[in-house]
Symmetry: C2
Subunit: 134 residues, 2 copies
DNA sequence: CGGCATCCAACCGGATACTG
DNA sequence: CAGTATCCGGTTGGATGCCG
């Protein structure tokens, strides 16, 4: 039974991420992609961040990739970009309502994975011990 | 300088996906990656699938990528692989308990995104209309 | 500060061929 | 059927330089 608004079984929704041509697949990739997930996560924990604040929070992201990532998320309506014409320029990024809902689910996943990493690492050791020695 | 990864607000978990070197980042990428997310999703909806069944369900995945993806998920302890020494060979894949918990959160995210694609597409049109005409 | 343009290396990933 | 191995083209993504 469903505790939330989305169904757990097959659906007659017009969008299906398992279909190659479905636009939802692209959006899912923006959301779950290497940098997209971290950008949404960081913005969710902070409400609003400037470009370089965001960059510092996401260890390892390049300027180019962060810029690209934010554009994709903005275009999909998940992130709002607010530029102030001051000098030096100041640009703030924050989640939209839709973005916040997506980010909440993402954060749940991220925290769950972080919380189970010991299990994952143990599984890896067992896997490598049995199969890895080649 | 050392990249001291302070967690902004969350608990003092030893793993922090925002840190470049944290192993949780790799696992998150396996889980949310282009094919990892769809493999977990498909297995969650079906319980158990053979290699080519899985391949057919995930429109567009190549044999190589699916194989690679399944290995990574198996190594992380999210997917269980069961090979039967019959002829022709039969190999079943299914989620582990941990994998099922991960998949549930992922599915929630996927269905949410699918359910909001109209909003996303509308946002894209607005974005392209204001900036895109160049 | 907050970007975009360009160059270029790395690797991702598809097609193909082959094996058990 | 369930893969592995190899090739190789396209994309990703880092480094650098420049601009408002």
């Amino acid at each position: 039974m469903d505790t939330t608004q989305e169904r757990s079984e097959a659906q007659d929704l017009p969008y299906n991420v398992f279909a190659k041509a479905c636009p939802s697949r692209g959006t899912l990739e923006h959301v779950t992609g290497r940098w997209g997930a971290l950008a949404l996560g960081a913005l969710h924990e902070h409400g609003s961040l400037r470009f370089n604040e965001l960059r510092r929070r996401i260890d390892g992201v390049s300027e180019k990739m962060l810029s690209q990532t934010l554009h994709a998320l903005e275009r999909d309506g998940l992130v709002h970009r607010e530029a102030q014409p001051t000098n030096p320029p100041r640009v703030d990024y924050e989640l939209t309502t839709l973005g916040r809902e997506v980010a909440e689910r993402l954060i749940g996943l991220i925290h769950f994975v972080e919380g189970r990493m010991d299990d994952v690492l143990t599984a890896r050791e067992r896997y490598d011990a049995t199969r890895g020695a080649r």
